[in-house]
């Protein structure tokens, strides 16, 4: 589905991503690494938020190098950004509606999709009329995930979905991701490696702009470097 080869990317003169190869098929893939490793930059390059300097990005065999963000969304790539990027002055309903309204393959099925999303996050159904900006961080994260799902994506990208959430909600979010991976490809960046390893099939470790480890979830769990640096064992 998603295929990245030799990607280089950065800001100004500073190169952040230094030649990354990464693939996501019909599976759930984790992207791990410390703060500043370049996870968000890499995702920004896929979504057309920052322009790649070199290398190729393909979606279903089509080059999407440097394509504009809204066109990426219309091609079926949904992003749940670290900063959530909701529409704070609008109701949950309107936020979700807009998740589907501009996606050609989703806008006619938005009613069905809304039911599905509400069954994943029942609390949002209770709060449909509430303004998104007045909700707690955890609930806003749920709105952001729900809004992304409204577009009925082929590929769902989540940037640090557990950041700043209380542990019970982190567990809930990863439960949802586990349930979703049957129907949608997932790429998730995380610092909470322990929790996310339960929901992914495969993972990459990104350090200083380079992939240093690539392995299955099982392999990562027993990799001595991952154990020491990310699981604290």
């Amino acid at each position: 589905m998603l295929k990245i080869r030799g990607l280089e990317c950065g800001y100004g003169r500073m190169k952040v991503i230094e030649g990354v190869d990464l693939e996501v098929g019909a599976e759930s893939v984790g992207l791990f690494g410390p703060n500043g490793a370049g996870k968000t930059t890499l995702i920004g390059a896929i979504m057309g938020i920052n322009k790649p300097w070199a290398g190729s990005i393909e979606l279903d065999g089509k080059s999407i190098n440097g394509m504009e963000t809204h066109l990426m969304a219309r091609m079926g790539v949904a992003l749940v950004p670290q900063e959530r990027e909701l529409f704070p002055g609008m109701s949950v309903d309107d936020n979700l509606m807009l998740g589907a309204a501009y996606i050609p393959h989703a806008k006619d099925k938005s009613a069905e999709q809304l039911e599905k999303v509400f069954s994943l996050f029942p609390i949002l159904k209770e709060r449909r009329k509430q303004l998104a900006g007045t909700m707690s961080g955890g609930q806003q994260r749920m709105v952001a995930i729900a809004r992304a799902l409204m577009s009925n994506p082929k590929l769902l990208i989540l940037d640090e979905p557990s950041l700043g959430l209380q542990p019970s909600i982190v567990a809930e979010v990863f439960e949802v991701l586990k349930a979703l991976k049957k129907t949608v490809s997932i790429l998730v960046t995380e610092q909470n490696v322990r929790e996310s390893l339960k929901s992914i099939d495969r993972g990459y470790v990104l350090e200083n702009g380079k992939i240093v480890i690539e392995d299955s979830a099982e392999g990562l769990k027993t990799n001595p470097y991952v154990l020491k640096s990310y699981l604290g064992l």
Binding site: A73, F87, A101
Partner: protein, 307 residues
Amino acid sequence: MAVKRQKAITWALGLAASVAILLWKPTVLIYGLQTAGLYAAIAIPMGLVLGIVHIVNLAHGEFMMLASYATYFACKALGMDPLFAIIPTALVTAAFGWIIFQITIRRALKAPELNQLILTFGLAIAFTQVINLMFTSQTYKMPLDYVSASMDIGDLTFGTWSFVFIAMAMLFSFGLQFFLTKTTTGKAALAVGQNPRGAAIVGIDVYKIYGLVFALALALVGAMGALFLTKSAIFPQVGSPFTMKSFCLVAMAGVGNIPGILSASILLGVAENFLRAFRGTRGWADIVFFVLIIVVIMSRSLKGRKS
């Protein structure tokens, strides 16, 4: 609780002031509201652009001036009443605004705010001077007899035509409110205004929405340009006070607050006409908006410091 009480006090004071003015100088209130309608109808599109595209358009009044000139010469050539020109002028101004947006403002959206201000200020000067070169600084006016319609209540006589501006202001305000909260495109525009990055990741073409909103605002400005011509003489600089007053009203209302523009306009319109009612203060009426904008900015910054 405190905010609620403060609001109630403001309303009560406003109501008491209007009753007092109505009893003392009834024409002040009537003409004040008419002026308010004109100001609000012109300021609302500026508020729309500021709220969604996040651009202070310093050529706002000058766009209206261009629309008035276009209406004047079209009407004169065709022997048409400006009222019939409202919709065509709106469409032409919208198209013109869209083109100006695409070739100039769009390129400055990522630039620092000062550059954007200089750009729109430059547009304003260019528009004014082009008209000055083409038509000189001579004033033009449409002779229309329905404009001098008046009404008597008791021994009070006042002009009624300008009530049309109040109707326009209401139409713009409610129309935009409906567009922004009930239609998909309107909601997308609101979303772009609140979070352009978020809008792009749900598939909204942010720049297309910016162009659309700018054109929509210019359509309203164009309609007002045609209507303004019924009432006033036009000359190259006629737009610039409206740019300043619109900016004052939008600043008073706060970004994205269209109903707030209505109440701010009433305050400005009534205050100006109040000063005009006395011989000694007549000349001061045109600087009321300066005083208001200073008071607003001071009170905002004081509030900001407290919280």
